[in-house]
Structure formats: structure tokens, C-alpha cells
């Protein structure tokens, strides 16, 4: 076939599919394009943000999806919250400092599912193992011991930078990334033999080799682990491991050293990647579990690489650390005087 004839035909087809994103969700009806070297083409700028919670809200039982009417109601409520918050907070209104004025339109859309977790069937995280429950409880108690004040003005004291989570220290973001209120853009690039995922937040790059090489030695532990990929049909399957225990799952005091994630990344429509992750860690959870989150290419804030800003987190963090440590000391001294 003559390439010049073929290209307009492809463009026409793509144009048609772009106009039919709902039909495009159907994996049987839609297939991604191919790179020049024949791999399924996942490339583009996406956001992984979503308003759908990881765990199903209590009380919804085994209800897996919302009806169209329920979904419309929830979206209307979210829009109302945004409208209320979408004015600058009054100076000193600490409760509003991270409101939707800042994260306006940043939280993505709801999917019809009531939770991102699809397995177990109740849509909730499986019970922790005894060992991990202990670690988690110790961490929670330690954190509570540093907190003073009443909601919404709970103040946490920090004796050292190590009392801050890795997130606030700008060291790392929890992996895998599940929703995020701001700077939740990512870009997928592909070259022969690699898929590359670049996360805007923390300017982290994951190189996923596709050549079947073994993982790095288990003695090398990393905040962002070590990824190896292969294709199963149109799905990129990634075996992700070698995390450091310093990395904590969702920042919740669950050390990630034994965690292994199997990611299944599939482009299911012109504007949607289905991001499925199965979590294996018998030391942390009593059974494996799986979530599916959407990565969307139709967020107006994330359309091209120009929309991915440099995330100079640590470079701008000095004042935060100075204020939090000095403030903690002042708070402790004031308390000592009154006691």
C-alpha cells in the first residue's frame, strides 16, 4: 500500500475515534496505533488524577458502580464545592489553605465505579497482616503524639526534618501514584526497547526496559523501585519491585520494601489509558489486591509536554522546613511556660 494513501485514511479513522470516546472505551472496538517499530503506541500527556476514591465508601457494600443518575448528582456536588471554594481564602484562614481554589479543576473526573479497587469485591483494602498492623499503629501513635490543637486546626510538631514524610521533604512521592490533588501530569515516551514514564511531580522518570533483562540486584533498593516490562497484546505489563522500606505506601506507614506491583497499562480509547495494578505483599496484606484507575488525555490542563512544569520542590522547600522546625520549637516552649 502506498504510504501517502494510507496516512490520510488513518487520520480519518483517528478523527472518527476521537469523536467517539465512549465507544472508544470498549477494548474490543478500539486498538491503539503502533510505533514505527511495531509496539502499541501509548505515547502522550496524561493525568492520573481522579475523584473516585481508592476504597469504596463504607455503606455501599458490594455496589460496584453508580447509576448514571447517581453519578450526575455526585458530579453536581463536586462542581458546587469547587464553585464555593473558587474564591481566594481570607488571610489567616488556614482551613482554606489547600481548598479547591488551589486545586481548582485539578481533581479529575469520577469514573462510574464506586472505588478504584476492583478486587477484593468489597472494593476495600484487605486486612493488614499482624506485623504491618503493628508498624502502622506505632507510626500513627507517634504522629498523634506530635499533634496539638482541635480540628480543623490540628498542628503537627516536627523536631527534625525526619518527622516530615518523604512527600513534604520533597524526597519522593508514594508509588504507585494513585490520584493527586496537583501536578498530576505524566508523559509516556517510547523508543525501541523502552517505555518511559515521566511524572511531572518530583520530575521522576521511570525507564521500563522491554528486552527481558533481569531486575537489578535485590540489594539495590530505590524510592521508585525497578521496572521491567513486556507486551501482552496491546497491554504493557510491568513487574515493579526493589523498593526501599523508606518508601511508604500512600505515606501511611506501610514500608514498601517487600511490595511488588504488577502494572497492566492499556490504551483503551483515544483519550484513556486503563491503569491496572495488582499489589503483592504477603508481609503487608493478607491477600493480593487490584485497583484500576483512569489516565486521561482529555484534561485541558494537560494536553502537551508544554503543560508539564518543572517541579522544583526541594529547591523551594527551605522556608517550609525553617518555619516548621522553628514553629515547632516555639510551640513547645510556649507550652512549657504555661504548664
Amino acid at each position: 500500500m502506498n504510504a501517502r494513501v494510507f496516512k490520510p485514511a488513518t487520520a480519518l479513522l483517528m478523527g472518527f475515534l476521537a469523536q467517539a470516546p465512549v465507544a472508544g472505551q470498549d477494548t474490543d472496538a478500539w486498538a491503539p496505533g503502533r510505533t514505527a517499530w511495531g509496539d502499541p503506541d501509548l505515547q502522550g500527556v496524561y493525568t492520573f488524577s481522579t475523584q473516585t476514591p481508592l476504597e469504596r465508601p463504607e455503606g455501599l457494600g458490594n455496589k460496584e458502580t453508580y447509576t448514571e443518575r447517581e453519578l450526575a448528582e455526585l458530579e453536581a456536588q463536586a462542581a458546587e464545592r469547587r464553585a464555593t471554594d473558587e474564591v481566594a481564602a481570607a488571610p489567616g484562614d488556614l482551613g482554606a489553605s489547600y481548598n479547591a481554589y488551589w486545586t481548582s479543576n485539578e481533581k479529575g473526573q469520577l469514573v462510574a465505579r464506586t472505588s478504584l479497587i476492583v478486587d477484593p469485591a468489597n472494593g476495600r483494602l484487605p486486612p493488614l497482616t499482624e506485623r504491618t498492623q503493628e508498624i502502622h499503629d506505632e507510626r500513627a501513635a507517634e504522629l498523634a503524639s506530635r499533634q496539638v490543637g482541635e480540628p480543623p486546626f490540628v498542628y503537627t510538631r516536627y523536631a527534625t526534618w525526619l518527622d516530615h514524610p518523604a512527600y513534604t521533604r520533597c524526597v519522593a512521592r508514594p508509588m504507585p501514584r494513585i490520584g493527586q490533588a496537583y501536578n498530576h501530569g505524566l508523559q509516556i515516551l517510547q523508543t525501541p526497547g523502552y517505555v518511559v514514564i515521566y511524572y511531572e511531580s518530583m520530575h521522576d522518570t521511570r525507564f521500563i526496559p522491554l528486552d527481558g533483562r533481569p531486575h537489578i540486584d535485590s540489594s539495590i533498593r530505590q524510592w521508585n523501585g525497578d521496572s521491567r516490562g513486556h507486551w501482552e497484546g496491546n497491554t504493557l505489563v510491568v513487574d515493579w519491585r526493589n523498593f526501599t522500606d523508606k518508601q511508604e505506601f500512600r505515606g501511611l506507614g506501610l514500608p514498601q520494601g517487600n511490595m511488588r506491583f504488577v502494572e497492566r497499562i492499556t490504551k483503551v480509547g483515544q483519550n484513556t489509558i486503563e491503569y491496572e495494578v495488582t499489589v503483592h505483599d504477603p508481609m503487608t496484606w493478607t491477600q493480593p489486591w487490584t485497583f484500576i484507575a483512569p489516565w486521561r488525555a482529555d484534561d485541558p490542563n494537560y494536553q502537551t509536554p508544554v503543560d508539564l512544569y518543572e517541579f522544583g520542590c526541594h529547591e523551594g522547600n527551605y522556608r517550609m522546613m525553617e518555619n516548621s522546625l522553628n514553629g515547632s520549637r516555639a510551640s513547645r516552649e510556649a507550652n512549657t511556660e504555661t504548664e
Binding site: A36, T160, T191, H314, R329
Partner: protein
């Protein structure tokens, strides 16, 4: 006879100047293009994909320099001492304005100044000690590998040091949204050379540990040219009218990392910099 001789000498001299000028303005074109790199599949461009690393001492000092002791010989012995290097600057000298020469010396003396408050942190010391993103061109010759990701439509570079990264916008010139640590990169192909114009960098990064510096008016024009299957020629034209009297150029080979299964590892150095940056904020007494 004498006049004729003088005239021909002058002509020869002018000819020499013209040749030199030609070579400085078009160094790549003036080089014989004996090597033709493999093309990236689906494109007419040479394939620069790979893990690359400089092998020189430019991160210590981009100028020619003799060996020297570490900043803490009493603690470290010979470990951490300064390795000698012939420099990476064409002509060996940085054309500083006179005030800037003094500023560079001051930078060097204060290179390990630890932040004691925010203003000090903003202006003093080598940003490498604080694990800040190193900027361009320093990111290229930090003693860490980096990986070029070249797709048919885009180029992206990820650096092992501080997980710094930058997107190179190809074949379009979108305006920079804000000044940044790694700058704003606009790329194009000139024959087999990837040319990248980098602007809008903050003024807090240095060229090296020796305190060689620039202002926020820095403009860097990088040229990446494959010269063998496993080497790139890297050249960076440095322009900054606030600090230098004329443009100047650094150049060096970049070497392909060839170990089996080699990959970028993590050097998330923030956790190694926190004690340096924040120790003075701790309570003086132990609890």
C-alpha cells in the same frame, strides 16, 4: 618589494583570521563528517538514544587545573581530593567581566557555606551541596550518567543526579512559562547535530564546584553530534552579557555507557543534603 611583502603578509594574516572566524562560527560544519550514525527507526535523524556520561573533571572546575586536596583533608585524607584536568573551555579562559572574576573567587571561598537562614541559602554556596537541580550545561558533565530519550517527534533527557530531567521541545518554540532550574529547551536538527537552545535558567546554579557562575540572562546553545557509534561530541556555546565580555564555548566527548544491562539508578540526594541544610534548625539540647 618591501611593501609587496608586507601586503602579502597582511593578506595571509587576514586569511588566517577569516579561517579562524569561519571555524569558530561553524565548527561542526568544518569537521569532516566521516561517521554517519544509524537513523532512529521511522525518521531521518541520527539515533541518540542511550545512556551517556562525560569522563572528565569539569564538575570540579571547567578551567584547566592542577590536583588539589579535598576541602576536609583532616577528615578524609586523600579521599575527595581534586583530580587534575586540562579543562573543557575552548581557549582555556572564561571571559569574565572584571567584577565577575572577583565574584567567582568569592563563590569558591564560600562554596561550602551552610545555610543559616533563608537569605544565605538563596545566595551562598554550591547548589550541588544542597542537591538542587544542576542546570545546563553542568548536568551534562556531573559525574553521573544521563539518558537521552529520542522518539520520532521528541527529545527528553533524564539525569541520574537529583533525578533532574528536561523536555526538549522540538520543531516548535513555545514560550517559557517561568524561570526554572533546568531551563527551557528548544531543539532542532542541523544535519546530524541536535541543537538545543536553553534559556530562562535561574541564576543560582554554577558551572562547577570552583564557583564559575552566570546570571539569569544565560543562554546556552548545545550541540550533540554522534562521532562514532559510542561517542557524542558535546559543545555548549555560553552567552551571558551580564557576566562575560564575549560568548565562549565548552566542548567534550560524551561516552556511551556499555556495561551489560546498564541503567540509570537513583541518586535522590535530598536526604544526603538535609543535615547540611537544616542542622542549625534542630533544638540545641538533646531530649
Amino acid at each position: 618589494m618591501r611593501n609587496w611583502l608586507r601586503g602579502s603578509i597582511s593578506l595571509a594574516a587576514i586569511g588566517g583570521v577569516v579561517t579562524v572566524l569561519f571555524m569558530t562560527t561553524a565548527p561542526i560544519a568544518a569537521q569532516p563528517q566521516a561517521y554517519r550514525a544509524p537513523r532512529l527507526i521511522g525518521t531521518d535523524n541520527p539515533d541518540l538514544n542511550g545512556i551517556w556520561q562525560a569522563l572528565n573533571t569539569a564538575n570540579w572546575d571547567i578551567r584547566p587545573h592542577a590536583a588539589g586536596p579535598s576541602p576536609f583533608p583532616d577528615l578524609l585524607g586523600a579521599i575527595g581530593a581534586l583530580p587534575a584536568g586540562q579543562g573543557v573551555i575552548e581557549g582555556n579562559e572564561i571571559p569574565y567581566q572584571s567584577w565577575a572574576q572577583d565574584k567567582q573567587r568569592e563563590n569558591f571561598e564560600n562554596r561550602l557555606t551552610r545555610p543559616s537562614d533563608r537569605p544565605t541559602n538563596e545566595v551562598a554556596g554550591d547548589s550541588e551541596a544542597k542537591c538542587y537541580m544542576p542546570g545546563v550545561p553542568r548536568a551534562t558533565y556531573m559525574p553521573f550518567p544521563f539518558q537521552i530519550v529520542q522518539t520520532p517527534g521528541q527529545v527528553f533527557i533524564a539525569y541520574e543526579f537529583a533525578s533532574a530531567a528536561r523536555i526538549i521541545h522540538m520543531d516548535s518554540e513555545p514560550p517559557s512559562p517561568a524561570p526554572s532550574w533546568m531551563g527551557w529547551s528548544i531543539g532542532r536538527w542541523e544535519g546530524d547535530t541536535l541543537v538545543v537552545e536553553v534559556t530562562d535558567q535561574v541564576d543560582k546554579t554554577w558551572f562547577d564546584r570552583a564557583g564559575n557562575f552566570h546570571s539569569d540572562a544565560l543562554r546556552v546553545t548545545e550541540r550533540y553530534t554522534p562521532i562514532t557509534p559510542n561517542h557524542l561530541r558535546y559543545e555548549a556555546l555560553i552567552e551571558d552579557p551580564n557576566v562575560f565580555t564575549r560568548p565562549w564555548t565548552i566542548t567534550m566527548p560524551l561516552y556511551r555507557r556499555m556495561e551489560p544491562d546498564v541503567q540509570l539508578l537513583e541518586f535522590k540526594c535530598i536526604e544526603f543534603a538535609e543535615m547540611f541544610m537544616y542542622e542549625h534548625l534542630l533544638e540545641p539540647s538533646s531530649e
